[in-house]
């Protein structure tokens, strides 16, 4: 029963975070951008859990719980904004709202 090395856990977290970042940068559909943000938050929580498992402390899992609560609050507000965007512009393209008024 050998231990998973911490380096590999961080490599996985970094790879998932990079994939989420690529998704945010490349995609223009706001639903895909939100899903990529979820992947990035999940990868950040994974890094905390990996570090918590390395030092055998529950703190990493506690921080993951906070990230989970933050992701839930974020996605509820963001999806309400998506519905409002679709209601006004009949599109999900973020380029439609790229101009600020002011």
């Amino acid at each position: 029963m050998e231990i998973v090395p911490m380096r590999d856990g961080f490599i996985l977290a970094g790879a998932l975070f990079a994939l989420g970042l690529i998704g945010v940068l490349v995609r223009r559909n706001v639903i895909f951008i939100l899903m990529s943000i979820e992947v990035m938050l999940n990868a950040a929580g994974l890094a905390f859990v990996v570090a918590g498992a390395r030092w055998r402390q529950p703190d990493g899992q506690v921080v993951f719980l906070f990230i989970l609560a933050m992701a839930a609050a974020e996605v509820s507000v963001a999806l309400a904004l998506v519905l409002e965007l679709y209601h006004r512009y009949k599109t999900l393209d973020t380029d439609a709202v790229s101009r600020m008024k002011g």
Binding site: V4, N29, M70, S76
Partner: protein, 169 residues
Amino acid sequence: MTIVFYVASAVAIVSTALMITRLHAVHALLYLIVSLLAVSVVFYTLGAPFIAALEVIIYAGAIMVLFVFVVMLLNLGEPAARAERALLKPSMWTGPLILAAILMAEFVYLLTAGSGGSSGGAMIGPRGVGASLFGPYLIGVELASMLLLGGLVGAYHLGYRKTPKPEVG
């Protein structure tokens, strides 16, 4: 146990890469759910069974239901009917099915191996997490509850229509 970690990591990376390259939102959601399940297996192998359960229940359960709900709200009428027909084609669900079958095989392997534990016996269960959560991190729990209340009020305010359609009944 480490081989389970590496296989689940590969499944997570592959499904996430497929997720960000899909054209349909529902296809991407399926791959995202598989990715979250794979990360849940990773959490279990790292000795965090409580977090693994929460990942499945809250992320893959509650938050993904919100996404599915919004995607369904935005696809109404004839395009939705065509999309439903396209959903039943095997080319749509074979990819997530194969990746989920790999995770299922890992699950069966973990059950039958009988180790019941994590890597190196460093399992930190719900008891340790709860004692830490309501001990030194109590103020963080209060702040998280206030954040969730703010999210609730914000979502309600953004979804509020000033002139509801009268014919809707």
